[in-house]
Structure formats: C-alpha cells, structure tokens
C-alpha cells in the first residue's frame, strides 16, 4: 500500500487507475450487490410471479393446478360483480380523498407556514397522526365515532345536533373512512407544501403587493403557481397511496359492501378464500393501473422543469 501511495504523484492518477481498474470495479460491485439481490428477489421476482400465477389456478395448499390463460382477467371484468364494485369503491375513495387532501393541505400549509409563537406545536399536532400507525388511528376513530358511546355523537348531542351513524350506515361509511384517512394523512402534504412555500422568494410577494394584490390574489397568483411541482407531487403520492388503501376498511368496515376496496378484496380472495391465482390476476390489474399513474407522474414532473 505504501509503495502505491508514493507512486501516485510520479505515475499519475490515470495510470494508477488503469492498473487497479478491474479490481476497483469488482470491489465496487460488492457494495451494491446485496441491494440489487434484494430488489431482484423481493420486488421484481414477485411481480413476475404475480403475472405468471395469474394465468394459473393456484392455491397455497395445492400449488399450481391448471393453466387457465387469461380466464382470470376475463372473469374479473365480465363475471365478477364484486370486483367491479370494489373498483368503484376504490375510485370513490380516491376521488374523494385526493382533492380534499390538496385543498385542506394547502389551507393548513398556508396557515402553518406563518412564523408565530406556537406554530411549531401546531405543525407537530398536525403531523402526529402521520407518524402513528393506521391501525391505531382506525381503532381510535372507530371509538370516537361509535354510535352509542362515541365522543363524536356525544359532542353532536351536546351541540343540539342529531346523532349520526358513521360506520354502521352503508351510505355514510365511505365518507367516514375518507375523513379518517384525511385526518391521518393531511399532515404529510402540509409538511411538503410548507417546505415548498419556504422556497418561494419574498420578492415575488413584494412585487405582488406593489401591484396592489390582496392576500387572496397573492395566494392565487403567486403561491399556487410557484407550488405547482409540490402540488403535483402531493397529488400523485396521495393518488398512488389512495389506490392501495387497506387498513381502515379491514379494521372498521369489513362487512360493508360499499367500503370493500380493491386491496381488501385481493386480501380476501387470496388469504381468506385461498384463490391465490385469481388474487394475483387482480393484483396485476391494480399494478398496471399504478404503473400507468407512475409513468404519468414522471412525464408530468419532467415536462414542468421550471
């Protein structure tokens, strides 16, 4: 090693490099190899397996039984009303949650972005549900929204309002679940948007004030356009997340047909009824939807190089 070191100035780095290049590359690969193996075994291979399994009748106990081709896919779209209704429930959830996340996130972020005493505590309070698990959040809200002894109905009654059925009524269950996951997740968007707002130079606001813009106009014509990338990021992340919602449905409304979202249905088919082949086909369908959304996301983010 000592001789190598002393050689460097004389021979020059380029040639020293050449000499050790192969060894260097080999050692370099050792650093990255474990991660690459992980991705191959636990991410790519399962995906390939899902595609393959979806073409077979497959159960955990009996393994591969019979090749059925694309029958599972045909069945999903033509014969399986429960699949169609689970897709509808998922879309309902996505279309309800994502716009509300954006609107509430923007509103809370423009509030939480101010430098005032106590604002750090407010940001922390908004963020605590993000760090807690969705299981805990679901169970707690299940109790808050309990029909008979829940905190919410007690509050409604105290205010002279009628008591409500939140989770027990088929029409209210989905809005309730959207509300709960909004409560849990909005802090995530708030933090991203606050970070975005911090990045907007004060000059833009000064210029807007000189032009006579009021607070709303400054928000509408300076903040929102400058946050375009952050808003895009938040909406894509929450869309992808919303398509995969599982815990609140599993925890709060497993019996409610209206709330059976796609991941819950996949779980039921695969792990309760043991139809792994069919569950894989449904997974592949969802995977394609999400891949499409991801590619769309990359396209949009690239095209908006500000």
């Amino acid at each position: 090693m000592a001789t190598t070191t002393s050689n460097i100035p004389r021979v020059g780095r380029q040639r020293w490099w050449q000499k050790y290049r192969n060894q260097y590359i080999l050692v370099g690969f050792l650093f990255v190899l474990p991660a690459l193996i992980n991705f191959a075994v636990f991410r790519y291979y399962p995906m390939a397996w899902a595609v393959n399994t979806s073409l077979w009748r497959y159960s955990l106990l009996r393994g591969f039984q019979e090749f059925v081709g694309i029958d599972h896919y045909i069945r999903a779209f033509t014969a399986d009303t429960q699949f169609i209704s689970s897709m509808k429930a998922t879309l309902y959830y996505v279309l309800g949650k994502v716009p509300l996340t954006i609107i509430l996130g923007l509103a809370l972020a423009s509030f939480a972005n101010q430098e005032r005493r106590g604002m750090g505590l407010m940001r922390a309070l908004i963020f605590i549900p993000v760090v807690t698990s969705f299981v805990v959040v679901s169970i707690v809200w299940g109790m808050v929204l309990n029909r008979d002894v829940g905190l919410m109905n007690a509050t409604l009654q105290g205010l002279g309002l009628p008591r409500m059925e939140f989770l027990t009524s088929p029409t209210n269950v989905m809005p309730t679940i959207i509300g709960i996951s909004l409560w849990k997740d909005v802090g995530y968007s708030v933090i991203i948007l606050v970070a975005g707002m911090r990045g907007i130079a004060q000059e833009f606001y000064d210029a807007a004030v000189v032009d006579g813009a009021n607070a709303w106009q400054r928000f509408r014509y300076v903040t929102v356009p400058m946050l375009r990338r952050h808003l895009m990021f938040v909406s894509v992340i929450s869309t992808l997340g919303a398509f995969q919602v599982f815990v609140p449905v599993y925890q709060l409304a497993p019996q409610q047909r209206n709330a059976q979202v796609i991941v819950y249905y996949i779980y039921q088919k695969g792990f309760i009824f043991g139809e792994m082949g069919y569950a894989s086909a449904l997974s592949v369908i969802l995977l394609l939807i999400l891949l499409f959304l991801s590619i769309f996301q990359i396209r949009v983010l690239r095209s908006e190089d500000v």
Partner: protein
C-alpha cells in the same frame, strides 16, 4: 390673506394627521382580527388533531364503565380522568395478570418483537443501502446508470400490490411464520438508496481523493469519510425506516400468523379493537403501541419532516 393660507395649511395638516391616525387604527383593528382568527385556528387544530389523542390518553387510566359515564356531556371530565386513576388497563394489556394471560394478552412481547424487527431492519438498511448509495454516488464505474435505472424502477412496484406473490416467495424461502419474515424482505430499499445518493452526492469529491491518496481503500473511504460526513442524512433515513417497520401492518398480518411472533400492530388489530367492550384496556393498548414512535417524533421532529419528501409511497 396670509392667515387664511396658514389656516388652510393647518387644516390640511390636521386632515393628514387624521388620515394617518385612521390608517393606524385600521391597521390595529386588522391586526386584532388577524390575531383572533389565528387563535381560533389554533383552537380548531387542537380540538381536531389533539382532541382524540387526549381522549385516548386520559381515558386509558379509567375503567370502561367510567369512560362511558363521562362521555356525555362533553366537558373536561370527558377527556381527563380526575375522578379515578386506574392503572389496571396497562397491566392487563401487557398481560401481567393471570386472567389477562389467559386471554392471550401480551403486548410487552409484541412491542419487543416490533422493536427488534425495526432495529434489525434499520441496521441492515444502514449497511446495505449505504453501500449501494456509495456505489452510485461516489464510485467511478462505467455504465452504472443502467443499474440506477434498475433501482429507480423498483420504486414503481407498489408493496401492497405484490403482497400476494411476495408471500409466495418468502414462503419458498421458508421464512413465513418466523421473525425473519418481517426483516429480510426490507433489508434494502430503493427509496432509501435513492435518498442516500442525494445526501452523498452533496459531499465534495476531494474528500474521497484525499483519503485514497492517504492510502485508504474503498471500504475505508466509505466508513471514515462518507459516513461521518453524512450523519444527518443517515439519521433521516433510519427514522423513516424505523417508522415504516414499526407501523407496518399488512405484511406481518399475512406473513406471521403465529400469535407469539406477531408485532404490535397486528396484535392490537387482533385483540384490542373498537369492538372490544373493555375500552379502557383498548385505550391503554393504543397508547402503548404509539408511544414509542410518537416520543421519537417529538424529540427528532426535524428529521421526521425531512424524511417526508423522501418517503414516496410506502403503503
């Protein structure tokens, strides 16, 4: 004539004075309204976001009967247990009494399993993700961008969706129903690798060169130069990973059905739900399952906020 001009001037002066005063008081009023609105917002945030938390923590020290007696009318007694201080809920949830053990409660064990899994994953992730990020950010290897695409493309595979085949793969490895099922699949993460590449790339390359000239090998460059200079980034990703494993539910739900191996989230989902009439015990379980991560958050807020932008979709 001169006097009228003086008068005029003084009148104008008065008007200006008055106008300035009016403006000042208007600004004052506006400031007051602003302050009141801010305080209203503060109250709203505390009620909406802290209300349920205080309710849960306060009532975890009550018996179920007292919880329900105090829920209506809603006042401070609904939230805070001034009437009794009941610690049995925690003792039962932790399975420290014979009856509770008979019911199969043992949150202490589940907490240790969650902690063990989270610490193992964070440790492994620090080793393998750091290595991979070092390769991509610092080493001069030709055409490594192809491998980078391979890593980034992994980020597009949603975990929730491939859980059925992941189960089958882990089953083939013989890890289903073992502690390692909760650890091995997550020892590397494309999100973390990607984030660490960003952190490492910020360091000047002269550091590596100087170390190499001093006779350090690649491994020494990583451990003695890169790692000490990227501590904040490493803490950020560790917290992200810890939070992910601590809160993960779907995967251990299907991968570990053996009750004595279940992590805390699965244990509470099975044993302490809103359908259980012993609400005090359920509240205590909620506090136990969230306290570690919430306390960690309170002390390391900055890192949590920083990890937000890195996390992408983790399920």
């Amino acid at each position: 004539m001169a006097t009228s001009a003086e008068q005029k001037q003084s009148v104008m002066g008065l008007e200006i004075e008055e106008k300035a005063q009016r403006d000042r008081s208007r600004a004052q009023i506006r400031k007051w309204i602003g302050n009141i609105l801010t305080w209203l917002m503060y109250v709203a945030i505390v009620v909406v976001f802290a209300g349920p938390l205080i309710w849960v923590i306060g009532n975890s020290f009550r018996s179920s009967q007292t919880i329900w007696e105090n829920v209506f009318p809603v006042n401070y007694l609904t939230f805070l247990p001034f009437d009794e201080f009941f610690f049995d809920n925690y003792i039962e949830a932790l399975g420290l009494t014979p009856e509770a053990q008979g019911l199969g409660f043992n949150l202490g064990r589940s907490l240790m399993i969650s902690l063990g899994a989270a610490v193992s994953v964070v440790t492994l992730s620090l080793i393998f993700n750091t290595g991979a990020a070092y390769f991509f950010a610092r080493l001069k290897v030709p055409r490594k961008n192809i491998l980078l695409v391979y890593v980034i493309a992994t980020m597009m595979i949603p975990q929730q969706v491939v859980i059925v085949p992941l189960f089958l793969v882990v089953n083939q490895l013989g890890l289903i129903n073992t502690f390692w099922a909760m650890v091995v699949p997550w020892y590397a993460s494309p999100f973390i690798v990607f984030a660490l590449i960003g952190f490492f790339a910020e360091l000047p390359y002269e550091l590596d060169e100087a170390a190499i000239l001093d006779g350090a090998n690649l491994f020494q460059v990583l451990t003695r130069v890169i790692v000490p200079n990227a501590i904040p980034g490493l803490i950020t990703v560790s917290i992200l990973e810890f939070q992910f494993i601590w809160n993960e539910f779907f995967w251990p739900l299907v991968a570990v059905s053996n009750k004595s191996l279940q992590p805390v989230q699965v244990a509470i989902a099975n044993q302490f739900t809103d359908r259980d009439p012993q609400w005090g015990r359920v509240f205590a379980a909620m506090v136990l399952a969230s306290a570690p991560i919430v306390i960690l958050f309170i002390f390391t807020q900055r890192y949590f906020y920083r990890s937000v932008a890195l996390s992408g979709v983790k399920g």
